[in-house]
């Protein structure tokens, strides 16, 4: 079982050379398989319904064997962008960057500039930090109503990615003599649908904070950027 999952992970990486993988795993040549590759983002109401939770996952398809050695890159800034007036321009950012086993968080704060380049607002923003978790037990820091986590987690994304590739690739891809035209039925084993991301991990950054800190309207738009030090 364990071995087959590792083989699946290897197969995913092989196929990734030819196809971009959903959700955002290995989505583009410049970031595929690198430390700045975003795999997914999530945004949802917290257990405390006055709070909103933002999740950014990077470096997907980490096998269990490689998880202990997986690490955030100290030259990669992960930036949560928040647009609270509907123009798809960031009004606030939350910046996360690791140093020596600690993830530092700055914000939310108005960015110093919009666009593709950022500076870290270490001198002006609210600063928080959490020790980066290395095992299965999550280390969490809570401060002034905000909570922080950084470390490996099970990849929460699920999809029969292999079948999707077979469907959108012309011709017979699985060797049964017919073009694949539909997803496989639910079930277990050959010929049934399976989660291509089962048994793999990602590096997660999770921030929970009061909704009032991100906007006063009915909604906000969010997206996550990774930026590399020049």
């Amino acid at each position: 079982m364990k071995k087959s999952k590792i083989l699946i992970g290897a197969a995913i990486l092989t196929i990734a050379g030819f196809f971009a993988i959903a959700a955002d795993h290995i989505d583009a040549p410049a970031v595929a398989g690198g430390t700045s590759d975003i795999t997914d983002i999530y945004a949802f109401e917290g257990q405390n319904t006055d709070n909103i939770v933002f999740v950014a996952n990077v470096q997907g398809l980490i096998t269990p064997a490689n998880t202990a050695s997986a690490a955030f890159d100290e030259n990669v800034l992960v930036e949560f962008n928040i647009d609270n007036d509907g123009d798809a321009v960031a009004d606030l950012v939350i910046q996360a960057i690791p140093r020596d086993g600690v993830m530092y968080f700055f914000g939310p704060i108005a960015p110093s500039q919009s666009g593709l380049n950022s500076t870290i607002l270490a001198d002006t923003a609210i600063r928080n930090e959490v020790q980066i978790t290395t095992g299965g037990s999550a280390i969490v820091e809570t401060n002034n109503g905000m909570s922080f986590f950084a470390g490996p987690r099970d990849d929460p994304f699920f999809m029969d990615f292999f079948r999707y590739v077979d469907i959108v690739t012309p011709g017979d891809d699985d060797g049964d003599g017919e073009e694949e035209t539909a997803f496989l039925p639910a079930g277990t084993g050959d010929g049934f649908a399976s989660d291509s991301f089962a048994g793999t991990n990602v590096l997660s950054i999770v921030v929970e904070l009061p909704k009032s800190m991100v906007g006063n309207g009915d909604s906000v738009n969010i997206w996550v950027e990774t930026k590399r030090k020049q």
């Binding site: 962008n81 999550a138 997803f183 048994g199 909604s219």
Partner: protein, 187 residues
């Protein structure tokens, strides 16, 4: 050996003397360790709003560019290309379950930001609420497949391409947590 030591001492003295001279006019500000150094410029490499947008709708040649086009410019740069891609994936596309024609649907998708409600249910789609967030358990791929392939009656029992609107993987391989940090522990 002894001679080498003398030479090393001389070099060390010379270096310290030179260093002292050189630094005489640039150490006048506050000094001393102040914690980690976060200076520098950070340039964008990847970005993401909604799941699978770059993966599904952007041609291989454009994928890096999509990641480095700020969201407020993405609509103008990519809507037409997204529409062509949608019609390539589903040549029979008319409208979808949201009653969006191809231009409207791809116009909404091309600006790749995730709208999140601050006063209601946060879900990608739960049968009632549409694009009000993304929760961990949301089956976002089925939602997107349904909107791409399912046609206008996909949610009322009469989908077009019924074999393409559900990948039959309906949940994660580990249960999520009800408390922070919500994601399951690693394998």
């Amino acid at each position: 050996m002894k001679f080498n030591n003398i030479k090393l001492t001389a070099i060390a003295l010379l270096v310290s003397f030179t260093a002292f001279n050189c630094s005489s006019d640039d150490d006048n500000g506050p000094t001393g360790p102040t914690g980690p150094n976060f200076t520098g410029t950070f340039a964008q490499q990847d970005q993401m709003g909604r799941p699978a947008i770059n993966t599904v709708f952007v041609d291989m040649a454009d994928k890096n560019m999509f990641n480095t086009t700020i969201p407020s410019n993405q609509g103008a740069a990519f809507q037409t290309k997204f529409e062509a891609k949608l019609l390539a994936l589903n040549p029979g596309y008319t409208t979808n379950a949201l009653t969006w024609d191809a231009a409207t649907f791809t116009g909404a998708l091309a600006t790749d930001v995730l709208t999140v409600s601050l006063n209601g249910t946060t879900t990608f789609f739960d049968g009632t609420n549409v694009l009000t967030g993304r929760a961990l358990a949301d089956d976002v791929i089925n939602v997107e497949l349904t909107l791409i392939f399912g046609g206008p009656d996909a949610l009322t029992g009469n989908p077009t391409n019924p074999g393409l609107i559900n990948d039959n993987v309906d949940g994660n391989d580990k249960p999520f947590l009800s408390t922070f940090p919500y994601l399951a522990s690693p394998w």
